[in-house]
Amino acid sequence: MISITAADLSGISPALHLAVAGIAIMLLDALWPMRSKLLSVWITLAALGCSLTTSLHRLTAGVDVTLFNGAVRMDGYAHAFSAIICLASTLAVLSAPKYLRLRGVHLAEYYALLLFSVCGMVLFAAAEELIMLFLALETLSIPVYCLVGFTRTNVYSTEASMKYFVIGAFATGFLVYGIALLYGAAGSGYLVDLRAGAARAPGLFYAGMTLLLVGFLFKIGAVPFNMWTPDAYEGAPTPVTTFMAEAVKAAPFGGMIKVLFVGFGFDAAVGLWQPALVVIAVLTMTVGNLTALVQTDVKRMMGYSSIAHSGYILVGILAASKLQSADALAAVLYYLFVYVLMNAGAFGILILFSHKDKDTNAVEDLTGLARERPWAAALMAVYMLSLTGLPPLAGFFGKFYIFSYAVKAGYVPLVIIAILNSVVSAYYYLKVIVAMYFRGPEDTGRAAVFHYEGYSVFLLAMLWFTAWGILYYGIHSEPQLALARLAASSLFATAP
């Protein structure tokens, strides 16, 4: 007897929309290849919109259901992550069509793969069991490997895809090994049962926990598992980099936080992951920021910057675990939300000025942008200043919430290191602003290199929305925080 009920299907609908839309796009492409491109953009947007609104609606309504015999749980936490991820993916999709068309790779497969990946992301934060967790992680990763190599003619793109794939498979090996060890220790794959393993077979449990953590840390790009990030970011087509920098970045935190809080818990007996994460957070922030200082390529720089931001988020996770407060976890969710907006915008500007033969990637390429395209430069400045953490932009409050909870949790040295790091980061974000505002072609001795070949409505909508969000949610963060708090408290309801 196959045990799928209608309630299961309706409960999982945020993920279901996406998978079905992905399959629909594949079919459409086979049946009606001439018209499928633009149509698939709309289908993708519609599916993401459906998932987004469903998730938001259920989040506010407080829906909390356990589905498929306990394999998946759609509670406030999962719905919140689903909403963040769908928003991030929508922004990434909006940035893609023109870029792909200019390079002659505007294919329906792009959207199908992206949707499958998003489906995996939604499930990743909802998984209650290790096998589900693993499958969701792979479903979210494998399409991204393909997307990175999407401009096949570009040798960098292919190389980046290959590297990302190989090292990703390597990391997956450790993750699976960890799952096996944890299962061996706990005798069950369900997250809530994992803690029992610490008493039954402590050695196995800790080894399993470590290896599972390694798999997650790889995904979020924490040091020393971060090496793939800049290569993949640089080589990938810029809309894919956008997708990677926000959705693929935010999603792993969904599963990771859940496994840490629900699976491992905070007792001294099983809470060994906390001190390890402190060291990793410090390393991640510092290495990310320092290496970003010397980059001349914006995409690569943003890759390192994303590593550094992972470090800040780890600080938030540590604070939430120490305080065991939903408020502190809400700060992490808010940070992720803001992070998505800032990154989408920054890459969006690069896409706006990329043309057929050459991407606008180098910091130098943006020289003198403020004179030629003042609005675009102003938007980019907003994104960069928000990433620096300048009030009253949303990026500042993301950091401020996280740091203030970390101080409350007693991680003062950690916060001081984090703030020092954000001072260092000011330097390289500023490089972009200096290039745009304070330099002209006469300084670099070459003609203006950015290209502007008309705009795409999708892209412009995305840029304005993100900039508006950064300004508006900085001043008016309360509604977002309230939602985040709702989500966080639903996770703490299940945590020990």
Partner: protein, 169 residues
């Protein structure tokens, strides 16, 4: 020494030996053959664990499917001997040391672990049991696995298409 133990050591030897041989073989074709040996060892170990269904799957999918696919791939790619590119010695040493360290730490952990004494024997037909679980408790994982496989298919088809059309749709 019981027969089971003897079998265990032989099969482990096959698995590990095959793995090491892959590492040190210079020609790719030979490496594939060693992989086959190693996978056979694993299949044998499954049988020792009373997991006949898994063993059968291992033989069918990995040995019958994947390694054969690899051989085809190598043969179809063109003539010539496929040789592992030489790595720098420093890197080889670093790789060896880091892998050995990881292995030793894991071994120490395994050694320290008190294994739960009597493992419960699986009741009867493992094939039927796995089938039942896949369609009840793990039905959703089963479904997601099919999405995952679809993704992989799409990805492969896409790469072939992009390579063939030179990036033009």
């Amino acid at each position: 020494m019981s027969a089971e133990k003897v079998a265990f050591f032989i099969l482990s030897g096959l698995t590990l030996g095959g793995g090491l041989a892959i590492l040190f073989s210079v020609r790719l074709m030979r490496a594939v053959v060693y992989l086959l040996v190693s996978l056979f060892g694993v299949a044998g170990l499954y049988i020792l664990l009373n997991a006949e269904f898994l063993a059968a799957l291992q033989v069918l999918i990995y040995i019958g499917g994947i390694t054969i696919l690899m051989v085809f791939g190598l043969m179809l790619t063109g003539p010539g001997q496929f040789v592992n590119p030489a790595e720098s010695r420093l890197k080889a040493v670093a790789a060896g040391v880091s892998s050995l360290t990881t292995a030793i730490v894991l071994l120490l952990i395994v050694k320290k672990t008190k294994w739960p004494a009597g493992t419960q024997a699986l009741a009867g037909d493992t094939t039927a049991e796995i089938g039942r679980l896949l369609l009840t408790d793990h039905v959703f994982a089963f479904e997601i696995a099919s999405v995952l496989l679809l993704v992989v298919l799409v990805g492969v088809a896409l790469f072939v298409r992009l390579a063939r059309d030179g990036g033009k749709p």
